[in-house]
Amino acid sequence: MKLAHLMALPLALLTVAPALAHHSFSAEFDGKKPVRLVGKISKIEWTNPHSYFYLEVAGRDGKTATWACESGGPGALSRRGWKKGDVKIGDTLIVDGYLAKDGAHLIDARRLKLPDGRQIYGGTPGDGGPGDNANG
């Protein structure tokens, strides 16, 4: 399934990529397959151990596909200043992340740009993916 919105990597993601330490992140996600998804939120799972944001992403063929963006749990997200009601169904999110290895419509969301312009680090703390540091 091709992604219409596979864009050039933001510089920030490039500088972070070499710091990949492959913990549970690399068992499931491919650090060499960065991806940017843009779409309207169709479903939100604000849950432990991971939160999921489902985006309707337009493909090159004009058809939309549902993609899941996996992020940290409510505790981790709230420590980054993000509350459950900050995003709603229908909002447009821009998500940078890495593709799941098994071909599923799933990315590990490293950075999310919210409708109000804020950029949030989305990774699960301790998973060793890009941008993961001691303080999640």
Binding site: S24, A27, E28, T47, P74, G75
Partner: protein, 164 residues
């Protein structure tokens, strides 16, 4: 089969399950208690198994070891069942599709079955063989099976997180 799916959905939708699923601190704490209680359950079971095999606590009679450690095992099991049940309820629908979780349940049943058979058969006669230098073959097989299944249970439990 539909009954099972409906049950998992119902369990998932219960307010306490939702609260745990969306909690900031409760879930990590419940999960941590679940992990740390492993020492109480699997750790004590392993010690009894090793005693049967003559590899630990050799100076103490098997019956004494088993009798004194069993309350710890049961207490630990209660903690694991409660925390495990809560964790399961919080993501019941997802877990019901997870092969590693299902494998873990099957292995738990096997561990229970193995323990029950051991206690109902060869352990009934323990007074006869307790003082012997080597335990009967059936007892040793049960001990090794127990060690193997509990190890597999822990591995399966850890790998649940890696399978979607």
């Amino acid at each position: 089969m539909n009954l099972l799916v409906d049950f998992c959905q119902w369990l998932n939708d219960l307010p306490p399950s939702q609260t745990l699923a969306e909690s900031e601190w409760a879930f990590p704490i419940v999960e941590s208690v679940h992990v740390l209680a492993l020492g109480l359950v699997a750790g004590t079971v392993a010690l009894v198994d090793l005693r049967v095999l003559g590899l630990a606590l050799g100076d103490i009679r098997l019956t004494a070891v088993a009798r004194r450690l069993l309350p710890l095992t049961w207490g630990g099991f209660a903690v694991m069942a409660l925390t495990g049940g809560a964790l399961f309820a919080s993501e019941a629908v997802k877990l019901s599709h997870n092969p590693l979780f299902l494998l873990k349940l099957v292995l738990l049943l096997l561990a229970g079955l193995n323990a029950w058979v051991f206690h109902a058969t060869v352990y009934r006669r323990v007074a006869v063989w307790e003082q012997a230098p080597v335990a009967p073959a059936q007892a040793r097989v049960a001990a090794i099976t127990s060690l193997a299944t509990w190890t597999a249970i822990i591995i399966a439990g850890r790998f649940i997180a890696y399978v979607h």
